[in-house]
């Protein structure tokens, strides 16, 4: 994998488990990230998102009253926020297909399963750096294009409304 200097990235880490936040902090620091903000819940995260430009938001899914999905929806719905287009990595120990689909439909950029490894997290960051996805609005959805890459060889039916025009 290519080596990137990540020291200027600003990352907001949201997880209700203190030890998990420590673990993620150490991994991020080890990967060279130096600006790492930490929040234990959605209300705390709101403060950082309001006051600081964030490059990558990493949020746990299962955090009690307000979940990571609630946070993603808030971020994507915040029309006035400078962080509305922030890259979001959803972190979860419950990577069921249903949860992955829910996160995708809420506007997540990348998905990372627990238990985490340095390699897996770095791979998600590199994906964000090397393959940024355009932001789209499709019906109720606002977020990164859920079609990851245009397949030049695709010959099947084109289903998007715009494709019919």
């Amino acid at each position: 994998m290519k080596l990137y200097d990540l020291s200027k990235l600003a990352v907001l880490l949201v997880d209700d488990n203190k030890f998990m936040r420590s673990t993620m902090f150490q991994v991020l620091y080890g990967l060279g990230v130096r600006s790492i903000m930490q929040a234990q819940d959605v209300p705390s995260a709101r403060g950082y998102l309001k006051d600081f430009p964030i490059d990558v938001l990493i949020t746990d899914l299962d955090m009690g009253t307000l979940s990571g999905l609630d946070l993603i929806k808030e971020v994507r719905d915040a029309i006035e926020s400078s962080n509305r287009l922030v890259n979001i990595v959803m972190l979860t120990g419950n990577a069921t297909k249903a949860n992955v689909m829910r996160a995708r439909d809420a506007g997540v950029t990348e998905f990372l399963s627990k238990p985490v490894s340095a390699q897996a997290l770095y791979a998600r960051l590199v994906e964000i750096i090397e393959n940024p996805r355009q932001y789209v609005r499709a019906g109720e959805y606002f977020g990164p294009d859920r079609r990851r890459k245009a397949d030049e060889t695709y010959n099947g039916p084109r289903r998007r409304a715009d494709d019919q025009e």
Binding site: L3, T23, Q26, G32, N87, Q134
Partner: protein, 163 residues
């Protein structure tokens, strides 16, 4: 709000160019090793958490079995601990903890009102976590690890559980 079904390109994400720098001709191996080493530095803390939670899981399981009034809260507590452990075990060399914790959470999520058989299945998982912790079974656990997982699978299959 846009018309239902309408697809519209809104823009590009904020560029990270200028924020990140490609180190040409170098690969990330050393960086990843350094990050893994920082994880290793937290291993003792994880082992302490695992020991504490294995004890608490045993206590909460006993409550769930003996105290119908406290059963719902005890199972909720078991689920929370199992959820946290499944998310951490593999990171610190205990993939069996992640695997058993994951199955336990998924099983609890299928239970409406715990029957005696549900409690037996939860107990088997809690005991498995306690065995892995007390015997320091790291990695896949070899024959012992395989036997533990096989026994849990057998119990789940007998109960007709589809996780």
């Amino acid at each position: 709000m846009s018309e239902k079904g309408k697809f519209e390109i809104v823009g590009q994400p904020p560029s990270l160019e200028g924020k990140v720098k490609l180190m040409i001709g170098r690969d990330a191996d050393e960086l990843l090793k350094a990050a893994e080493k920082r994880i290793e530095g937290l291993k003792d803390e994880f082992i302490g958490i695992l020991k504490r939670d294995a004890e608490r899981l045993g206590d909460q399981m006993a409550t769930a079995e003996k105290d119908p009034a406290g059963r719902v809260a005890a199972i909720k507590s078991i689920r929370k601990m199992a959820h946290e452990l499944r998310g951490q075990g593999g990171t610190f060399g205990y993939p069996l903890i992640s695997e058993v914790g994951d199955t336990l959470v998924k099983y609890i999520d299928t239970v409406q009102e715990a029957s005696d058989n549900d409690l037996k299945i939860m107990r088997a998982h809690v005991d498995a976590i306690r065995v892995v912790q007390s015997r320091v079974i790291t990695g896949d656990g070899g024959d012992v690890g395989r036997a533990l997982l096989a026994e849990l699978q057998r119990i789940l299959a007998r109960a007709g559980a589809e996780l």
